[in-house]
Symmetry: C2
Subunit: 158 residues, 2 copies
């Protein structure tokens, strides 16, 4: 890692601190860069906006994609003040940046009361063994939509 990486991570940590000071949500910040410039940033806003998906990474990724006018973060680097939770890591895989730097670990997040570690464990289990109740219903009907999608000549894949 370079001085530049430390600079951008410093900004992610600063955003986390700002969010705490302004009581916007949990202590997490994130920056997305491309070609050594910030293209998106965010801090956690779950409790202040009543949005359980408003994690720092999700906000920063959405902003970066808007800036870049793309649903992919090609060639981008993500700096997040904490190891991403499964929701955010999933979002990162869909956005496909080049690299991710994180500061605190998911264990550190668990130590201050966040569910990250629990959710990682749950996602690794088979559906029937999870604490969340997940029930299959009407698969045949929904598969018809998948067929329509596959037959659509102008579909945009991602």
């Amino acid at each position: 890692m370079t001085e530049e990486d430390r600079f951008f991570m410093g900004r992610a940590i600063e955003l986390a601190e700002m969010g705490v000071e302004m009581s916007r949500g949990g202590p997490f910040g994130c920056v997305v860069t491309k070609d050594s410039e910030i293209v998106g940033e965010g801090y956690n806003q779950v409790t202040s906006t009543n949005d359980p998906t408003a994690h720092a990474e999700i906000i920063a990724i959405r902003e970066a994609c808007k800036t870049l006018n793309s649903f992919q973060l090609d060639g981008c680097t993500i700096y997040t003040s904490c190891e991403p939770c499964p929701m955010c890591l999933g979002a990162i895989y869909w956005a496909r940046p080049e690299k991710v730097f994180f500061a605190c670990s998911r264990g550190d997040a668990a130590n201050i009361g966040f569910d990250d570690d629990f959710i990682y464990e749950e996602l690794g289990k088979a559906s029937a063994e999870r604490e969340m109740v997940l029930v299959e219903l009407m698969r045949d009907e929904a598969l018809e939509v998948f067929k329509d999608w596959s037959a659509k000549p102008d579909r945009v894949e991602y």
Copy 2:
């Protein structure tokens, strides 16, 4: 499951079909209900809005939380036309609904070209073994923000 469950799943599948017909994104729809009423719904809009997080479930959860004025989906049921990807299942854990019904499986999604299964596999691996490059940086500095959070008397936990 009841006739009501089939009704709401039918609506989720209908939303998926609408999204395909209008070329908004992938073939996925979702409905959130509380006390037998729809409080949020959505269809995939990744490619039409340049937002990799705009999956049907994320949109429906955000709308439902706005309707209910809460960052939690207490007592809610989610109907999604496909088994949630890790990002969306993570969001579901954070939102904490009572129950989730899904129609197609993640294997069905993989069959029509979506990465869900691959991302589940990646999330189950240790950081160093993943295809995504994840590097720790400045943990000590970021832990200071966690300490500030823990010492904050008016923090709102979630």
